[in-house]
Point group: D2
Amino acid sequence: MNIKVAVNGYGVIGKRVADAVRAMPDMDLVGVADIATDWHVRTAAGLGIDVFAATHDARTAMQSAGVPLAGTLPDLLDQVDVVVDTTPKKVAATNLQAYRAAQVKAVFQGGESHATTGHSFVAQANYATALGRDSTRVVSCNTTSIVRVLGALQDADLLARARGVLIRRATDPGESHHGGIMNTMVPEGSIPSHQGPDARTVLPNLDVVTMAAKAAHTQTHNHYWTLQLNRPASREEVLEALRAAPRIAFIRMADGLTALNTTVELMRDLGRPRGDMWEVALWEDVLTVERDEAYLTYQVYNEAIVVPETIDAIRALAGTVTDGSTSIKMTDEALGMRREFLPAPVRATTA
Amino acid sequence: MNIKVAVNGYGVIGKRVADAVRAMPDMDLVGVADIATDWHVRTAAGLGIDVFAATHDARTAMQSAGVPLAGTLPDLLDQVDVVVDTTPKKVAATNLQAYRAAQVKAVFQGGESHATTGHSFVAQANYATALGRDSTRVVSCNTTSIVRVLGALQDADLLARARGVLIRRATDPGESHHGGIMNTMVPEGSIPSHQGPDARTVLPNLDVVTMAAKAAHTQTHNHYWTLQLNRPASREEVLEALRAAPRIAFIRMADGLTALNTTVELMRDLGRPRGDMWEVALWEDVLTVERDEAYLTYQVYNEAIVVPETIDAIRALAGTVTDGSTSIKMTDEALGMRREFLPAPVRATTA
Amino acid sequence: MNIKVAVNGYGVIGKRVADAVRAMPDMDLVGVADIATDWHVRTAAGLGIDVFAATHDARTAMQSAGVPLAGTLPDLLDQVDVVVDTTPKKVAATNLQAYRAAQVKAVFQGGESHATTGHSFVAQANYATALGRDSTRVVSCNTTSIVRVLGALQDADLLARARGVLIRRATDPGESHHGGIMNTMVPEGSIPSHQGPDARTVLPNLDVVTMAAKAAHTQTHNHYWTLQLNRPASREEVLEALRAAPRIAFIRMADGLTALNTTVELMRDLGRPRGDMWEVALWEDVLTVERDEAYLTYQVYNEAIVVPETIDAIRALAGTVTDGSTSIKMTDEALGMRREFLPAPVRATTA
Amino acid sequence: MNIKVAVNGYGVIGKRVADAVRAMPDMDLVGVADIATDWHVRTAAGLGIDVFAATHDARTAMQSAGVPLAGTLPDLLDQVDVVVDTTPKKVAATNLQAYRAAQVKAVFQGGESHATTGHSFVAQANYATALGRDSTRVVSCNTTSIVRVLGALQDADLLARARGVLIRRATDPGESHHGGIMNTMVPEGSIPSHQGPDARTVLPNLDVVTMAAKAAHTQTHNHYWTLQLNRPASREEVLEALRAAPRIAFIRMADGLTALNTTVELMRDLGRPRGDMWEVALWEDVLTVERDEAYLTYQVYNEAIVVPETIDAIRALAGTVTDGSTSIKMTDEALGMRREFLPAPVRATTA
């Protein structure tokens, strides 16, 4: 029997999770809850998704605005096994009580603190520890990418120390008509930025320090890492370690993928929903290894990277799949995730 | 029997035309031709599209780069009824000779001059005059939008004179890592800008003057029009005239669609390929009519708006559908074009 | 005896007014008042400007932060003839009571409503009507430019009707790390935008309608006008009318001044304080006249254009100069305002 | 007797060097040479600077355009001791022959290779080795900042290894109407980027690796450094080392200087010509030291930072001042360079 899923909060992450749940063979999306009355939630209704009012006040406002409602959040929770909470920061802690009262398991997002649920989740790193829990937190987009990449090197017993600079997109493209930054960069005011410590909620032994800043673009973060290896290694060894971990895709400057927007354009060309990229896109031909130091840069599509992790977290809480790599494989196949975006070149033949 | 179609030039417009041809029930895409070796054309191969080398030099380079080739442009032309030429500006005039020699009908794009083919095309305005021709030119994105909107008012016998200000996106989002403008605007150096005269290649009686500028964004043009009506009219009369014409969709600030990027986000949410919008998106609740003057603003998704026109042009040249409105209907249904993007509000009921 | 002036609010406009007052031979800047404790107001102190706490709470905070204080706002008002209020919107109405109680005349800015003072001011249009008043409002940057340019054509009895599109910078360059818009445009939700009606607070007989939008840049607004003349006129007649009015400077695409940022760069090169441009910069070689219609575009440096008007308003309220054109001349000479930014070309000679 | 100086190339750097030379008590600007006919060079003429045609062809074009000419480049070289070559990249090597033939010493910019002159210059690091030479190269803006900051730590015998991420402004603000990048970042395709090796042309023992990218803004580069110290040190020790070196100014997030544009706004407020900042602006309160690692970020005003170095290079080649620190002091005083931009807070007193 399929896992019955609710999404509370139909925003940047929530709408993507809703679509991904609908794409999974072992899950049913029962509905989404929200408090808004604008085009966003009305679009959900147009896509055949049942919409529920998240609060009593919202119900009145949504009805007045003509949003078709299937009920309220309690009605939705009555029908589901797992709720994914993608409400804005700080609302979640309160919601958790309601979810527990309704005996619904809950997946939160990286805006919440680790303490709220006591468990932070990245599928490849700690799927097993989420089994049977009533709640977990999928870590943020930046932290997820760090765990994927540095975790891969840690798994290969190559990594001694990681020092990263995270250049973040300033705001999301659909929100960029307010709250943006223009023609500037905004460095974070303290070092380390929170992403380093946050990765240790999943990989406690990571020696990692991050500096962060916002730059004047709206699509995808861009990380730069200086890695101290625990021994001299070849470039191929580092690549092998990265290839052994899931959800890292390899791109190349030599193919003309030379800027953040080019990769985004490629996603659109591949027919991805919303042009989403769930993988960390790592520039293979920029990766440099010098004796016992490695340098690399990758791109994090912040709107989508946590979506597959959220799907896995649903399964882990539901307990329907006990093996993390099986869940990852199910998710990745259903979404169409890839390790390479371009077909391999054919061997040139004489004409 | 389906129309067999080639696309020469797999760029911003070409790749969209290729997809649209594949979506049409009465057309087959035989292949695309290009001269590049980078990710763009290799993506086409990955999507199951046959790729041909557009030139002899390109064939060698593409083979060396491992791009799988189905042949060269002459091979492609041998197999098709109509070629859509989406090569860069000024290459087209030369190509026309080759197409004529191969007895293939040809659709060009708005970057070419009217004189090259002697016919300029917007489906709703002059489909019939393209029937039986060996070539035509689909006018540019801006001109297409002008013909759709002003043509609608002209058809309703409402329009005396139109004065427009066209604020253009500076470059396309996939190209914006070179050639962009930053933190500025660039006004065109002469008035009228070319779009006004260009609209008269399709609607010769239009009294229109345009000023234009580039602004510092990458997605969609934004037009502002002051319209002198030929008599006092009500806002509803103007709206009716616009609703009577195809390919204009109505959006509303009141729904939260308040900026160019919000509409783009909506297209992504609707699951449109590449987030494309083929319609002119006109702000219904901004449209203002004062006695015999009307003021309006709309948004032109420049990467996609000419795609349905190109599809219609293929049919007109092929002569398989003799009635323009039938072709428009076929195209619009196959693409999923709409007049409203949001479902109509339900009547609020008592709870 | 010099006019003693206070500036209340040391922000984008206030700091420029303070500098301009210091540049005038007939004015003394007694001090500026503010409530902030950050670099902005501390810079003022470093420039030798006496700083006063605008409120009691602010005084405590400023003292704690180590801002050197010369006193509080009442102390400042005690010493001046005129106060220029450049506090944020809506604070002003309350302040007016305090200024009246202190018997200090007050100049407000365009963010306030006309009703607050009952008088709106642009020097070239209505200096005389401000003489002897206790307060006035210098209209906003956009409105000031409209009055300068359209007023010039009205004075020449050429203008029947003006329809404008105002593309505004989204936020100021010093503030652009929050509140900006990114990669988009935001059209105003209703037509006419407020600037048209606002210009009629100064020029009541103007037949003007404006549409407005914000674009993704931070420096200078850019206006596009379609002007219905009341008779056919030559381009030279229109230019003559514009040249007859003050504070319009002429720039040319042919000189390479082809974009908003180029003009800003020119101001920096001319050694202007902060790169300011007090003039409306009108593209002379873009101006087009067709029979009885004229089309033009100009650039409004929103951070500075109201500064000379504010200086004139000080004089008008103080009553020390009764003739507007005399005041304008004094202001313009002291600031170094110009009609042409480049030296006239020399006649080419044989070498 | 003052050093007689020419500037060949009146662009972003050249015009600033020209102004700085005019500000020095021991130098005379004889004139500038260029090949353009547009507003840029005509502005120079308006500022009272003699303009010379850099080539024979340019002379004809400039005369036709009405640019007042004082002669040609050979005429200019006849009258000077030192020429600063700020022509575009790759022109310089050819020019060097002409300068040598004219027996004029020459200062080149960082766009040229070290090999062209055989000497690379940063005043605080190697002034003495430039004495008596006929030419040198002032290293690029990024490299200059690296030598200032890392050199300071090396001088204090604190630095073992430096790993940096350089986020560059995409283009200059006056040029940003063409060639910009929009809503993206462009990582450099290879690691290390050239700035690290380039710093070793001045500080040969530096262990430094840099990664670089362009971000979507036009003013100032932003560097992030992870520094391996050769022993555990306190934050105050690191700060002391930085304070001991010249041309590093300290800014603080706590003062509200929280973004690249805020610092630029501060420069404008300080009355700097063109809003220039010649100092490296280092965030003092972001600097973090953990045992034997230090992390810091600073801002490089790329249009101006090499100007004081160029002035010192002129003196070194001319040989009029033999001590580097004396020259630095002369330069810095004449320009008004600072270590702190804000006045020190006053001790709060009771009111």
